[in-house]
Subunit: 335 residues, 2 copies
Amino acid sequence: MKKIAIDAMGGDHAPKAIVEGVNQAIEAFSDIEVQLYGDQSRIESYLVKSDRVSIVHTDEKINSDDEPAKAIRRKKNASMVLAARAVKDGRADAVLSAGNTGALLAAGLFIIGRIKGVDRPGLLSTLPTVDGSGFDMLDLGANAENTAEHLHQYAILGSFYAKHVRGIAKPRIGLLNNGTEATKGDSLRKEVYNFLASDSSLQFIGNVEARDLMSGVADVVVADGFTGNAVLKSIEGTAMSIMGQLKSAIAVGGVKAKFGALLLKSSLYDLKDTLDYSSAGGAVLFGLKAPLVKSHGSSDAKAIFHTIKQVRTMLETDVVGQLVEEFSKESDVND
Amino acid sequence: MKKIAIDAMGGDHAPKAIVEGVNQAIEAFSDIEVQLYGDQSRIESYLVKSDRVSIVHTDEKINSDDEPAKAIRRKKNASMVLAARAVKDGRADAVLSAGNTGALLAAGLFIIGRIKGVDRPGLLSTLPTVDGSGFDMLDLGANAENTAEHLHQYAILGSFYAKHVRGIAKPRIGLLNNGTEATKGDSLRKEVYNFLASDSSLQFIGNVEARDLMSGVADVVVADGFTGNAVLKSIEGTAMSIMGQLKSAIAVGGVKAKFGALLLKSSLYDLKDTLDYSSAGGAVLFGLKAPLVKSHGSSDAKAIFHTIKQVRTMLETDVVGQLVEEFSKESDVND
C-alpha cells in the first residue's frame, strides 16, 4: 500500500479541491492510502468516507505570504509541516501540497532531506509540447544560483524521471542555452556542456534554445534555477496573455465573432487542453529522500487527482530508490 | 537630412523586401536619405528611383551561417561591413540590416564602436504587451555574461530609449528577477537592485517577473544577456506554438470550425496584430556611437519600413548624442 501525506489546507481552493481530488484518486487507485492534514470538520464536509483515508487534525496552516524558512521553523503544527514530518518519520511515503511553494521546498530540504550525493535538489515539471508528449525541465527555481556540477546532476535526475515516471526509454537531454552550437553560452554553460558530453550514461543531444521547447526538441531540458524560473514564467505569462487576448478579441468582436467562437468551441478547447499541463501532475522537488510534489496553487480537484496519480507512479516505479542507488555508486567512485 | 546606410542583402527576403521597404520610407519621410549596399542590378529591379537613394555596389555578402567575428574580419567588402563603415567614416548617421545578427553586433562593436563609458552595449527591443503599449527589454543576448555594472548601465540606456524614442516621460524600470520581493534573486540581482534603488535619476519600480511582462508591469525591463535571450525566445516560441496550434485545431475541426474561424477572422487578426511587434521596429544594439538596428531575418517590406521609421526617430531625437553626454558626465564623476 502506498501511503501519501497530503496538506489539505494549501492552495486557493483548499480544502474543497484537495479533498475532492482525493475522493477521485481513492476510487481510481486501490493501492493507495491517504493521510489528510488540516481542519478535520472542514475536510469531513467534502470527504467521501473510506478506510484508506485518515485525517490528522491541526488548526495551524502556512499562508501563501508567509516567509518560507521562518514559517517552517515556527509553525511546527502547520498542516504542511506535519505532512512532511510523516514522511520523515516513515509514516508516509510521499508528500503533496498546493500551498506556499517556498515553504514546501524548505520543508523538503529541512525535514525530508536530500539524497546523499545530490547537492541541490531541483524543481522539475512536465511542460506542454504541441504534439502533446511534453518535456521535463529542471531546475525551475528551487535555487537562485547553480554550479556546473548541479546542472550535471539535474541531467541525471531529469533522465531518471523521464525514464521511470514517463516511460521514455532513452530520454534526450538538452542543455538550455543561447544558441545550439557547442561553443555557445557563458562559462557555466560551456563547463556543463563538457560534463554532459562526456557522460556516457546520458543521451545528450546538445544545446537547445527556449524558442524550440514547445516543439519537443528534447525530453529533458537542463537549466540553472534562475534561468529555468524565468523561462517557465515567460511561457506561462505568454500563454495566459494570448488566451486572454483571444477571449477579449472575441468579446469585442460582436455577435458575428461570438457565433464564430461557438462554432470553434471544440477546437478552442483542444487548444486549451494542449496548454493545460496539469494532467502531467505537479512540480517535483527532485533529489529528496522521498517524492515531494507541489500542485499549482489554483489546482482544482482534477489537477489534484492527476498529482496524486503522478505521486503513485513515482512510488510504484521507486524512482527515488533508483536515484539513491545511482548516487551511492557515484559517491563510491568519488571516494 | 538624415543619412541611413542599409544592408540590402541581409534577411530571408533580400533584396526585394529591403528595397520595397525603402521605397515606402522615402515616400513617407522627406528628411531621410538612404544608401543601399549590395548587388546593384538586383536592387535596381525593385527600386523606385529617387534622388534621395543611392546604391553602393558590392558582390560580397555575409551569409546567415557565417561565423560572425571571422566574417566581419575577412569579408571586408560585404554589404553589411560597407554599411557599418559608412557610419564609422561619417558618410552615414545610422545603419540597418536584416542579416546575420552576430555579424551585425560584431560590426557594431568593432567598426562603429562603443560610446565612451558604456562597457557593454546591450541589445534592446520593444516587445508587445496586451494593451498595445509595449515594453523595452535589454540585454536580449548581445552578451552571454554581464556584471552588475553592465545591468545598471542597461537601466540608464533603456530609460533613455523609452523616453526619447517612445516618448514616455518617466519610464518605469523593472529588474527581471525570480520574485518581486527586494531580497529575491542571485548575488548579481541583489547587487543590481541596490545600484538601481540608489540611482535617483531612474524611476526604479523594483523586481519584476517574466510572467508579468506582457501585462505591461514595466516600461523598461533590465536583464543580463543570457536570461534576456532565454526570455525573448520563450515568448517567441510560446506565441508561435499557440498560434500554430490554433491554426491546426481549426484545420482538423472540419467545416464547422472553418466557418467559425471565418466569422472570427477580424478578431484573430487583432490578436495577430497585438503579437506582431514589427511595427515597433527592430532590435537596437544600444550604447554604440550611432544607431545600429537589426531587423528580423523574416522581415517583409512593412517591417523594414517600420525599422527605418524607428531609426529616423532615433536620429531626430538624437538619443545617441544624449547618451554620449550622459556617460561623459558619469565618467567625469568617476575621475
